[in-house]
């Protein structure tokens, strides 16, 4: 655990990507199995121990420290694991102090129950110094949040043993921690893991925002960017699985899709729910709101299946019938996908149409005209682009619709976590429910955490601290004087806020230090922007 803790601390304080890669690679080369496998899993995906949650740690600390002092400390640090590592009371002199190894710790954490965790986790913590406690608690509660992405961890593995990161990605999702087969292949030169007959996730190809780029329509094809969730449908070894963009297996949420693909394939598409909004070859889809009814469920009732039937609008094909198409140009993959359509039932599949445009200017006009709430914008795909995991410059672009804008007033602020810990970075803002000069009130309409620079964050943070009028636990109510121009993708009826409205993807567009609060927008103005 000491080496792992040293690695974690070094990573926390390292800015350079190359240095991070070097640190992880060095650790992976110098650490035996299965410790390095667990460490890699923790860095890349985070481990999950059902008995150990943030709340478990919170409760352990509240028993050992005044709860109010705990809450104030946690609120300041913005990270439960770190706060606990700093506040854990030193153990008695005669306590066993040999630090556990990573795999000992993982075994112990795995064996813990909701009851035994209350005595067993403290025993582990007592054997570690503050850095060790931090590393253990981070490992125990999943996301490390130390500036290491899953991709970076895999690249480090590739670098450590001089293998290709694409191969690591390919095998990764077919294997489980602590990845003995992966290390046997990468470190010891044994045969690569066999994943051909496993329904494993292949990382998505992603797009860059178009921004100021102008593309030549002879080289690029355009498609609508549908407002559902991007999914990958995989069938191998007589089993079908549905994966979300992050590679999570969401098959149980969409059982209707597990019986309709009857040949081996990996397909990329947008998951949608039937409805009248989003056009397509075989009828439309409902708005994102309807799809939301289906998301995040572990089991699905018959009623749900009947009311909100899901289907996939296909974008691409990665593999089918034992053929790997990823190296082919997009145009050829598209032809193959079109040829596959007769084998895919209309009830659960349609094809994302190609938007015909002779010139970029014409495409811009088409994009302007698309006021359908369910279209997020356009996708531009270079006709010769292979299918490559991740974001590669120049191949795919997303060209989102211009956001809607509204002026709101800052009402409440809360401290952020991670990079923004201890800054007031989460804002709730409102619009007027009538004429502010005639006694109207502000009603909350949304929350935003992004859209401002670090410099702006510092200024808003200072504003919050100097204009606090009330405190509700971690939440500060502020003087209603600061106007935010808020950008958002769409607005819907909702019971979440008192105003009866909820925005999608609200973010701070501009901070209007100059604008008096009574000139901010009214609720009616926001309501008028509902499109469906």
């Amino acid at each position: 655990m000491e080496q792992f803790a040293t690695l974690i601390d070094a990573l926390v304080y390292t800015r350079s990507r190359n240095e991070k890669l070097r640190l992880i690679a060095e650790y992976l080369r110098g650490t035996p199995d299965p410790d390095r496998g667990w460490a890699l899993a923790a860095l890349a995906d985070g481990l999950d121990f059902p008995a150990v949650k943030s709340s478990t740690i919170r409760n352990l600390l509240k028993d050992r420290l005044d709860p109010v002092l705990w809450t104030l400390s946690r609120d300041f640090v913005g990270d439960t694991a770190e706060t606990a590592s700093l506040l854990w009371p030193p153990p008695l002199e005669d306590t066993e102090r040999t630090p556990p190894t990573v795999s000992e710790a993982v075994d112990a954490l795995t064996a813990m129950t909701r009851k035994s965790v209350l005595t067993e986790l403290p025993e582990l913590l007592d054997r570690l110094d503050p850095s060790g406690r931090y590393a253990l608690l981070k490992l125990a509660t999943g996301g490390m949040r130390i500036g290491v992405s899953s991709r970076l961890a895999k690249t480090a593995l590739a670098q450590a043993f001089d293998v290709s990161v694409e191969d690591v990605e390919e095998y990764w999702h077919g294997l489980t921690a602590p990845y003995p087969e992966l290390f046997a292949w990468a470190a010891d030169g044994q045969a690569p893991p066999d994943i051909e007959n496993l329904p494993t996730f292949r990382p998505f190809m992603l797009a860059h925002p178009l921004e100021e780029t102008v593309v030549d329509m002879a080289q690029y094809a355009a498609e609508w960017k549908w407002d559902g969730i991007r999914v990958q449908l995989v069938r191998a070894g007589e089993e079908t699985r549905v994966y979300s963009r992050s590679g999570d297996d969401i098959s149980a949420t969409f059982p209707e899709l597990l019986e309709v693909l009857d040949f081996p394939a990996v397909l990329d598409g947008e998951l949608l729910v039937r409805g009248a909004h989003q056009g397509g070859e075989a009828g439309g889809a409902a708005s994102f709101n309807a799809l939301q009814q289906r998301l995040g469920r572990k089991t699905v009732s018959k009623k749900m299946l009947a009311e909100y039937p899901a289907f996939v609008r296909l974008y691409d094909v990665l593999l089918h019938d034992g053929k790997d198409c990823r190296a082919l140009p997009w145009e050829q993959r598209r032809e193959q996908l079109e040829a596959l359509m007769p084998r895919l039932p209309d009830s659960h599949f349609d094809l994302s149409e190609v938007v015909a445009a002779d010139s970029f200017a014409q495409l811009a006009t088409i994009r302007e005209g698309a006021r359908d709430d369910a279209i997020e914008g356009l996708m531009l795909k270079r006709r010769d682009s292979p299918y490559i995991a991740g974001r590669r410059v120049g191949y795919w672009y997303k060209w989102k619709r211009d956001p809607l804008l509204i002026d709101c007033v800052l009402m409440y602020a809360q401290r952020g976590s991670g990079k923004r810990s201890s800054f007031f970075s989460d804002y709730t803002f409102g619009c007027w429910n009538g004429d502010p000069d005639a006694g109207a009130e502000l009603l909350p309409v949304g929350k935003a955490y992004s859209g401002f620079t670090d410099e702006e964050l510092k200024k808003i943070d200072k504003h919050v601290r100097q204009n606090t009028t009330n405190r509700f636990g971690p939440v500060r109510e502020t003087e209603k004087i600061l106007v935010f121009e808020v950008a958002f993708d769409s607005v819907h009826e909702s019971k979440r806020h008192k105003s009866g409205l909820a925005m999608r993807f609200p973010r701070i567009h501009r901070i209007r230090w100059d604008k008096p609060a009574h000139e901010a927008d009214r609720i009616e103005a926001l309501r008028a922007l509902i499109r469906d």
Partner: protein, 334 residues
């Protein structure tokens, strides 16, 4: 007779001593100011009369050209003010010249600490516990997670890193008044006798410290030297210069910052610090609570910083306390 302690009033921009019509550490210009120490949040220019230790006045002269109306009071000395108020300046152990101010009126005693610490500091005399009725304490690091480690440990970390990278330099961000000189003096105490290189903004304050008898060893200005001269050396700059264009002239600097906030990893990350040095000129949680116990005042007033937690501690330990809402006291760089 007036109500007890009605002669002293916390206002948003300072502590008002009513019968003397003067203010402690006012954040806006007033006719008469009692200043605890030279940091910008406590010492401002533009007062009619400024009462402070000679060292603090020298610092204020350097920073704000405060010469007119400067009234020096040495440690242990008492100055009588209008309205029957006596003010005595007592070492606070924070930076050169820093003082607590003991205010006495009608048999009632109030101590305003300004900023203070209880750890030894080669650049200023140590904090003295002074019995009083009301103790007005700072709370910059008023959360139980703040424990400043012994400074020798932090110096060791710095020197080890320097030794491991003879081709690079260690760039230490340190508050220009107090922290920088303390770090330099502690490096000397740890046996580091190489020249130490300074950002231009540090030079005058270091000279001022030396004139006041604080030996800092050989100091050189970065501006007078080439990149290669700096390899294997310590460079000290204000925190704001750490990620500034200025630092590009240095040989692959290892970015360090000397601050109590470095105890929290995310704070170090926010400032892109690679080598956090937990060094503060403020009292940590243990020092704050120990000081409240030792002073044992009837009442504690808590200001600038994390008042809520210290207030809670007082409540748990059956000590009377209230939080003051003074404007503008937030020391982000310490």
């Amino acid at each position: 007779m007036a109500a007890p302690f009605s002669w002293i009033r916390p206002e948003p921009h300072g502590i008002h001593i009513v019968p003397a019509d003067c203010w402690v550490d006012p954040s806006k210009p007033v006719d008469r100011a009692l200043v605890t120490h030279g940091h910008a949040d406590h010492a401002r220019g533009g007062h009619g009369q400024t009462v402070a230790t000679p060292e603090t006045l020298a610092i204020m002269d350097l920073r704000y050209n405060t010469r007119e109306g400067a009234t020096p009071v040495a440690y242990g000395e008492t100055i009588r003010m209008p309205g029957g108020v006596d003010a005595t300046y007592i070492p606070a152990g924070h930076v050169l010249g820093s003082a607590q101010i003991l205010l006495e009126h009608a048999g009632e005693k109030v101590v305003v600490t300004g900023d203070y610490k209880r750890r030894p500091d080669p650049t200023c005399p140590p904090f003295e516990v002074t019995p009083c009725d009301i103790f007005i304490t700072e709370a910059t690091f008023g959360l139980p997670l703040f424990t400043h480690p012994p400074i020798a440990e932090e110096m060791r970390k710095l020197l080890d890193r320097l030794a491991a990278h003879p081709d690079r330099c260690v760039l230490v961000g340190a508050y220009a008044l107090g922290k920088a000189q303390r770090v330099i003096a502690e490096l000397r105490a740890a046996g580091h006798h190489q020249p130490i290189y300074l950002h231009g903004a540090m030079e005058k304050m270091c000279r001022l410290y030396e004139e006041h008898g604080v030996a800092l060893g050989e100091l050189r200005l970065v501006a007078d030297h080439t990149k290669d001269d700096l390899r294997g050396h310590v460079v000290v700059c204000p925190p704001s210069a750490l990620n500034d264009r200025w630092s590009r002239r240095l040989p692959e600097p290892i970015t360090a910052m000397a601050s109590g906030w470095m105890r929290v990893r995310q704070r170090a990350r926010q400032r892109n610090v690679e080598l956090p040095l937990v060094i503060s000129d403020h009292a940590d949680w243990g020092e704050l609570t120990r000081t409240i116990e030792e002073v044992d005042a009837q009442e504690n007033w808590i200001t600038h910083g994390r008042e809520e937690a210290l207030l809670r501690w007082c409540q748990l330990h059956q000590r009377r306390a209230r939080a003051l809402a003074l404007v503008g006291y937030e020391d982000e760089d310490d």
